[in-house]
């Protein structure tokens, strides 16, 4: 009965990796490039490097969204979720394919876009509302509701720079929550503010989802996807691999997490060094509180004399959590004539469930020999770390789990 609202046909998006080498970013480079071009072209042709440097963030994605569908998009970091939303929001252009959107579109890739620190809360409501696509009249009509929702009325005439980060986020979300589009595109903006405000946000989200609007929602919060969404889509390496009920999608995604976290493929060589990284949970999937191992295999074309290796662990936002660095943690470095296998055992993982990326750096003496950004993704599934059956939300409580002994005295 309902009509389509979004139609995506065969959309692909290509990025060039190492763009600094290919496309000049300064004019001097461009001019210099003119002279170097014949040489570079020769090198590319002779080594066929050109193909390696392009990266397809999305490949042949097609789907149709009906009016009133609430769709959750899940996938690992780098699966193409954000690229898809950026294309749907018209921020970047697809390399091939067409998209049709029917209805007023609002996209929220972040809360508080365009907020200016020097302006007051009141002024920022108008500015941000306008940036998100509201008319001045609309903003004026909803102004009281926005202020009410945010709960910052006493600070309305205070410059935004004096707001606490919590207040700022609340005001920003309040503006976003009063958008009234027919199609809403949202990128992981739910997990903001304190617990009470989050509850309010989730309430607003389910209200929007239940109001017959078309919603496209990217999230790592699988329970939110299961609760709000009527349909789900799973992306992997730029491809849409499953389009189905949100429950099915979440199950399949969890299964993928499990599989991906135990397998490691050999990475393309960096400066003559090949690397394979594997993360293995000793009892199946990696769970908080349980033991796991990092398994690294290095093959080098030129011998290394004083090798040391660092594994950086980053959370899903790219924040460095910790670094396992042999130089700091072992007394000696070692020689690697051709290849080496390293193993690091972690007795009790103290990271919250989620996916983490591993960045590996290889040093020879004091010089950096090779670096692999996102050499592997480590996924940690739900586990009962504290023995209470309750787990923290990494977006709110942080990714590190710390067990302490509590004593409470009360009277």
């Amino acid at each position: 009965m309902s009509d389509w609202a979004i139609r995506v046909e065969d959309v692909s998006k290509r990025y060039f990796l190492g763009a600094a080498e290919k496309a000049p970013t300064t004019f001097v480079e461009a001019v210099g490039g003119l002279f170097a071009a014949p040489w570079r072209r020769f090198r590319e042709l002779s080594q066929a490097e050109a193909v390696d440097r392009e990266f397809w963030a999305l490949r042949h994605v097609s789907f149709e969204v009906r009016e009133g569908d609430v769709i959750g998009i899940v996938g690992h970091n780098g699966a193409g979720k954000s690229t898809l939303l950026k294309i749907l929001s018209r921020i970047t252009e697809p390399t091939t394919g067409t998209i049709r959107l029917r209805g007023r579109v609002a996209s929220l890739l972040e809360v508080g876009t365009g907020f200016h620190p020097e302006l007051t809360g009141r002024e920022n409501i108008y500015l941000n509302g306008s940036i998100l696509g509201m008319t001045r009249r609309e903003i004026a009509a909803k102004f009281d509701a926005i202020v009410d929702f945010s709960g910052v009325e006493t600070f309305l005439d205070t410059p935004f720079k004096r707001y606490s980060s919590g207040m700022g986020v609340r005001l920003a979300f309040a503006v976003a929550a009063h958008l009234d589009p027919e199609i809403l595109i949202v990128d992981e903006v739910l997990a903001v503010g304190d617990a009470q405000f989050q509850k309010k946000c989730l309430g607003k989200m389910s209200e929007v989802a239940g109001s017959g609007r078309t919603v496209l929602f990217v999230s790592h919060n699988l329970s939110a996807v299961e609760n709000f969404c009527t349909r789900g889509m799973l992306l992997r390496q730029g491809e849409l691999i499953l389009d189905g009920s949100s429950g099915d999608i979440v199950d399949r995604y969890l299964a993928e997490i499990h599989r991906d976290s135990t397998s490691g493929a050999e990475l393309p060589p960096v400066r003559g060094v090949r690397l394979r990284v594997e993360t293995v949970g000793e009892a199946g999937p990696i769970k908080p509180g349980e033991p796991m191992r990092f398994h690294l295999e290095l093959k080098t074309e030129t011998p290394l004399h004083e090798a040391s290796v660092a594994i950086g662990i980053d959370d899903s936002r790219g924040q460095r959590l910790t670094t396992l660095f042999t130089f700091q943690q072992m007394q000696q470095s070692w020689e690697i004539p051709r290849q080496a296998t390293l193993e690091a055992r972690w007795n009790a993982v103290n990271l919250a469930p989620g996916s983490y990326s591993l960045n590996v750096t290889l040093y020879d003496g004091l010089t950096l020999k090779a670096h692999w950004e996102r050499a592997a993704v480590m996924s940690i599934v739900d586990g009962d770390y504290f023995g209470t059956g309750r787990m923290p939300d990494p977006h709110v409580h942080g990714s590190q789990l710390t067990r302490v002994d509590w004593t409470v005295e009360s009277e």
Partner: protein, 295 residues
């Protein structure tokens, strides 16, 4: 091939009254989508409003700055170029009246180009998160300088009134004022063209960020703001007028003080303004679709 980024359904081909947006890869040169700019006019208003608000926050003098800057510059030029440099003798007009009417369009140009040139890079956070016609960004950076221009214009009128009351013979405010809107429009077109060009170049090649301030300074000296046109040798004047601001500045001065307007020069500058506008906007539209990827 030209595909506008968002096209409305051409006819009643769909039963739905809802706007339909088509997204697909675009290639080559893009025309300006005036309809879309018009639909986003309120955002333009808010962007200018933001710039104006932010500019005078936590300042004591506030909008008085708009007047103080050209007045102070005028004084400095009067003393150093006019008196000490002897340029005063080469001008038929009283030196302040030579400079001030020229400073208004010049400062509009210089401020807009400096702001506009780095405007896209400074708005990276907006460009990577929200869609709107990107042309609004350099366009909005002309807003605040335009308001400054209007404010200083009031001061200029007072100055002119003062000279007229004192019976200055070289000044005749009258019929030539009808040309003023023409030169104002020309200044706007040239400024928008140059600002747009610089903003897009700055995104593609960050070198232009460094070049910008420098270019504006040099541009000042090849524009007859602080000196009369008469010191430029006759045979070079048409070449000199390839600088779009030459004709506009001379025209402004002429329209306001009754000094004869050299129309051949004005025509060359007008053509050059149009060219800058065309090239600036075309180049901008051409690389616009890559902004979010390279910013």
């Amino acid at each position: 091939m030209n595909h506008p980024s968002a096209e409305l359904p051409s006819s009643a081909s769909t039963a739905s009254p809802r706007p339909e947006i088509l997204i697909r890869p675009k290639a080559g040169w893009q025309a300006i989508d005036l309809g879309e700019l018009w639909r986003f006019r309120e955002l333009l208003y808010f962007l200018v409003w933001r710039d104006m608000k932010v500019r005078y926050k936590q300042t004591v003098l506030g909008a008085t700055w708009a007047v103080l800057q050209p007045l102070a510059l005028m004084l400095v030029f009067w003393i150093f170029f006019g008196k000490l440099g002897g340029l005063e003798d080469k001008s038929a007009l009283p030196y302040p009246l030579l400079i001030f009417p020229a400073l208004l369009p010049w400062m509009f140009f210089a401020n807009s180009v400096s702001q506009g040139g780095s405007s896209l890079v400074n708005s990276a956070h907006l460009i990577s998160k929200v869609y709107f016609p990107r042309l609004l960004i350099p366009l909005s950076s002309l807003g605040a300088p335009l308001v400054d221009l209007l404010i200083s214009f009031l001061v200029l009128l007072m100055m002119l009134g003062g000279y007229l009351l004192a019976g200055e013979p070289s000044v005749s405010v009258g019929a030539s004022l009808v040309w003023l809107p023409l030169f104002l429009a020309g200044t706007f077109v040239a400024t928008l063209g140059v600002a747009t060009l610089f903003s897009a170049l700055t995104i593609a090649y960050r070198d232009f960020r460094h070049l910008l301030a420098f270019a504006v300074q040099i541009w000042f000296f090849v524009t007859p703001v602080s000196y009369p046109l008469s010191i430029i040798p006759e045979k070079w004047r048409l070449v000199y007028a390839l600088n779009p601001m030459t004709g506009m500045v001379v025209g402004f001065r002429g329209a306001l003080t009754g000094e004869a307007i050299p129309w051949d020069l004005a025509a060359v500058s007008a053509a050059s303004s149009a060219l800058f506008f065309y090239v600036g906007v075309k180049y901008f539209r051409r690389i616009e679709r890559r902004f979010a990827d390279i910013i």
